[in-house]
């Protein structure tokens, strides 16, 4: 990789070089790295609000908080928890933070294709977030329908559903614009010699994600708009009393929201595919298999939405087809898992915190995936649909999967992003309560679901109480781990030791530039002559 090292040190992107300084410089930046950090800070704020709400919901299940929190408030809590975590954290999370920061660097570009549009996406995101917060305190109060806004309840409830879904509508623009930006960037901005199969796998993951964002988001946008029109003008698209069909709403909602699950998980898989080779010091096993599986997940994943509606009374033919396709979409995920594990085979493994979290991702994602297969089987689904089993399952996928991968990516790229190194011991110390608490909480939920505990219940029947107590104690451990984890990282941004340019011995392009990266990433755009995970020459250098 000759010619990529800076000869004269250029100031890092963290130093203000333009005419504006301080907060204003950040709020008007078009630098993809700064925008990535803007997303990071705003999303972490939302994440902790979401975690706080989750904690309170667990306390309600202990019945300790039932004097303070009424049933109506509880219904608002799980709705807001879902809306924040889904629309403000998990869906935009990895692409907006790490996609923005690293996509241009990984393909050897100075920025994304449309830097101003990129900043506009962040403003759409913040505008949507502000509207979502406003919806809690205005109109009839916080929405109480669950984050899915099922009609006809969402049409009839007196709470402020209209503003909440409008917030989601605005957030959709952020998602679409980011998608357009990434697709164009990947097509047009790759460094010379960086042909498709020389791209790091994170880029493949972001590419397939961007297509889903672009194609699926308009559907939910128009659906949510129809909900608003129906609430204000009673147009009768979804309300059966006016000749509408509530199942139509569910179809339209899930045509977006199921692919959205893959918007969440694909970039996570991409990050894991970056981390494993670096710490195993060998190429990823089955590069093309992983790249193609990302694309096929994006493709087949767009055709499985109605498995969210197996108990809704759809036709037998629809049930059969959607169950079958659900099984098919599990295959590419399995391929990825096998390839990841094989990447460790005969490596020279340097065990570091990012690898620990990457392996934790694989373990938890496997549980999430396997319990997903259970729900894809119709005879099992009829029992566990809409119970705590599904709640436990999607937390395994979204938190154990996307969340852990986001943590792994944060640990992996933190030294590059901030030029500082965190305390590895403190990170290891955070892992134990996080892992144990996580499994107590969410495996506990799945057992509750098998026992027959329905989701979104303010009070539960007495036979479920013991498991609820176990899950709630788990939630405390989990939060303890999260607090240690983020306290360590926040401390490191201020007081951490200086990080080297390449602390992990990685070979992708981000490790060839200084930490933190200079404003324009590369002095000279590198010319690429080989695949992304080529370690051999490093050994003999």
């Amino acid at each position: 990789m000759s010619g990529t090292h800076a000869t004269t040190p250029e100031p890092s992107y963290l130093v203000d070089t333009g005419t504006r300084t301080g907060v204003l410089a950040w709020l008007t930046t078009t630098d993809h790295k700064r925008i990535g950090l803007l997303y990071l800070y705003s999303m972490m704020t939302f994440f902790f609000v979401g975690v706080g709400i989750g904690l309170v919901m667990r306390l309600v299940q202990l019945t300790t908080f039932q004097k303070l929190i009424t049933a109506q408030t509880y219904n608002a809590l799980f709705t807001v928890h879902g809306v924040i975590m889904i629309f403000l954290f998990v869906v935009p999370g990895l692409p907006a933070i790490f996609g923005n920061f690293f996509l241009p660097i990984l393909i050897g570009a100075k920025d994304v294709s449309f830097p101003r549009l990129n900043l506009a996406s962040w403003y759409f995101f913040i505008a949507g977030a502000i509207l979502a917060v406003l919806s809690l305190f205005t109109g009839g109060g916080a929405p109480d329908t669950g984050w899915t806004f099922y009609a006809p309840f969402s049409l009839k409830t007196g709470t402020n559903v209209s503003l909440a879904v409008f917030a989601a509508f605005v957030l959709g623009f952020s998602s679409m614009l980011t998608g357009i930006n990434f697709i164009t960037t990947i097509h047009r901005m790759r460094a010379p010699g960086m042909h498709w199969f020389r791209m790091p796998l994170m880029c493949w993951a972001l590419y397939s994600t961007a297509w889903i964002q672009l194609l699926a988001t308009p559907i939910v946008a128009i659906t949510l708009l129809l909900v608003i029109l129906e609430r204000f003008f009673g147009i009768g698209i979804f309300d059966p009393a006016k000749g509408g069909d509530p199942l139509l709403y569910q179809h339209l909602f899930w045509i977006y929201s199921h692919p959205a699950v893959y918007i969440m998980i694909l970039p996570a898989m991409g990050a894991i595919s970056e981390i494993l080779p670096t710490f195993a010091k060998r190429p990823i096993f089955g590069y093309k298999a992983i790249a193609f599986s990302s694309m096929s997940i994006a493709g087949v994943g767009s055709l499985v939405w109605a498995h969210h509606m197996f108990t809704s009374g759809m036709s037998g033919m629809a049930l059969m087809i959607f169950s079958l396709l659900t099984m098919v979409v599990a295959v590419p995920s399995a391929i990825k898992v096998f390839n990841w594990v094989s990447t460790l085979y005969k490596g020279s493994i340097d065990f570091q915190p990012p690898l620990l979290f990457a392996l934790t991702f694989i373990f938890l994602f496997c549980i999430g995936g396997l319990t997903g297969v259970m729900q894809g089987a119709l005879a099992i689904n009829v029992h566990i649909h809409d119970t705590y089993f599904i709640v436990g399952h999607f937390h395994y996928v979204m938190f154990g999967g996307t969340g852990m991968a986001l943590f792994a990516a944060l640990l992996y790229w933190f030294p590059k992003m901030f030029g500082k190194m965190y305390s590895k011991k403190a990170i290891y110390a955070s892992w134990f309560p996080m892992f144990i608490g996580f499994n107590m909480l969410y495996f506990g939920m799945m057992i509750l679901g098998m026992m027959g505990m329905p989701r979104r219940y303010y009070v539960h029947l007495p036979q479920f109480h013991t498991m609820h107590v176990i899950a709630t104690v788990g939630s405390w451990l989990l939060v303890l781990g999260l607090v240690i984890f983020f306290a360590t990282l926040v401390y490191a941004t201020f007081k951490g030791g200086k990080a080297e340019a390449n602390p992990w011995g990685g070979v992708t392009l981000e490790w060839t530039i200084p930490s933190p990266p200079p404003l324009e990433n590369f002095d000279v755009i590198p010319t690429i002559t080989r695949g992304p995970y080529h370690f051999e020459q490093e050994e003999h250098r």
């Binding site: 594990v341 649909h385 329905p454």
Partner: protein, 318 residues
């Protein structure tokens, strides 16, 4: 353990598939986890200082594409065949109309009997035609592994055949408003003779499964005043409280003898709540709606005796 209770044929069908998938999953998870830990230990930097630069293996890719595909397809097939059985009710099944509304269940039998608890004979197929009067609800009996949504303007059908006498929970599984988690009922399975005695026994026949249900902690309908039992059974209490708490409709506490402003065809009148007004409000709820409340109450079919009991009970609430 209540939750492993298989109380119907559908539970056996569902659990068979569950244990098949669960077994496969455990094997897969252990395999992957052990392999990961083994590789991390065996190929650590210390034990294996130089990594082998392996790029992949086509044979392995084919292997771990086809084996999962075959297994997943077998799960699909087994899941589908065991589910299809739950969709098609036998022709001789007794058809029960299940109506969900915020936030109660009611069951209507072919002979017109209406109940709040679902009574069914042991070992006989029972078809459920599930409907909703307002929002989407979910009809769920965990011990039967049975679930079907109640969707407005649509009738969804499922069926069951109980294999064990007992009293089992019915829960609503779709968020439907503030009292979603209180939208509970029971399905009571009794020997066929006991069911028939009640079913063909006319209006005063004692409800079956008394002994079964007496053992339960849930408040027994039988110990309540008859009028309250009717109000509970018909779902009236979802909107009207008897203790003065405001709900969707006016509270019934101390309503008798009170002056109220009502809308009659759009015009405001002041009336005194008397016997006749109470009866009319039940039989023709839209006629004189109390000011400030939505005209949302459905017409509810009550027998003359039930109506008397309800009015008598409301008079006692002061």
């Amino acid at each position: 353990m209540d939750w492993m209770n298989q109380a119907a044929l559908s539970a056996q069908k569902s659990d068979a598939v569950f244990f098949y998938v669960f077994g496969l999953s455990v094997v897969f998870l252990i395999f992957i986890t052990v392999l990961m830990i083994y590789f991390v230990v065996r190929y650590s930097k210390k034990r294996n200082p130089v990594a082998s630069q392996i790029e992949g293996h086509v044979g392995l890719e084919i292997l771990w594409t086809t084996i999962p595909l075959v297994l997943f397809l077998s799960i699909f097939y087994y899941g589908w065949t065991n589910y299809e059985y739950m969709r098609q009710a036998p022709r001789d099944a007794m058809a029960i109309k299940v109506t969900a509304r915020q936030w109660s269940w009611s069951f209507e039998y072919p002979n017109g009997k209406q109940t709040k608890v679902l009574f069914a004979p042991l070992g006989k197929p029972m078809r459920l035609d599930v409907r909703s009067a307002d929002m989407i609800h979910g009809f769920f009996v965990p011990s039967f592994r049975l679930k079907i949504d109640a969707v407005p303007a649509r009738t969804n059908t499922t069926w069951f055949q109980a294999t064990k006498p007992g009293s089992y929970d019915i829960e609503c599984t779709v968020i439907c408003g503030v009292d979603h988690s209180l939208m509970l009922s029971k399905v009571v399975i009794v020997p066929e003779a006991e069911f028939k005695a009640w079913y063909f026994g006319g209006e005063d026949a004692p409800e079956p499964g008394k002994a079964l249900r007496a053992a339960e902690a849930h408040p027994d309908l039988a110990n309540q005043p008859m009028g309250l039992a009717v109000l509970t059974a018909k779902g009236c209490l979802a909107c009207h409280s008897v203790d003065g708490k405001p709900k969707v409709g006016p509270t019934l506490k101390a309503i008798y003898g009170r002056e109220a402003q009502v809308l009659v065809a759009g015009n405001l009148h002041t009336i005194t709540v008397d016997d006749a007004y109470l009866r009319r409000s039940i039989t023709d709820p839209g006629a004189q709606v109390v000011r400030g409340y939505p005209p949302a109450m459905p017409k509810t079919a009550l027998t003359a005796q039930e109506l008397d009991e309800v009015v008598r009970y409301i008079k006692t609430l002061d």
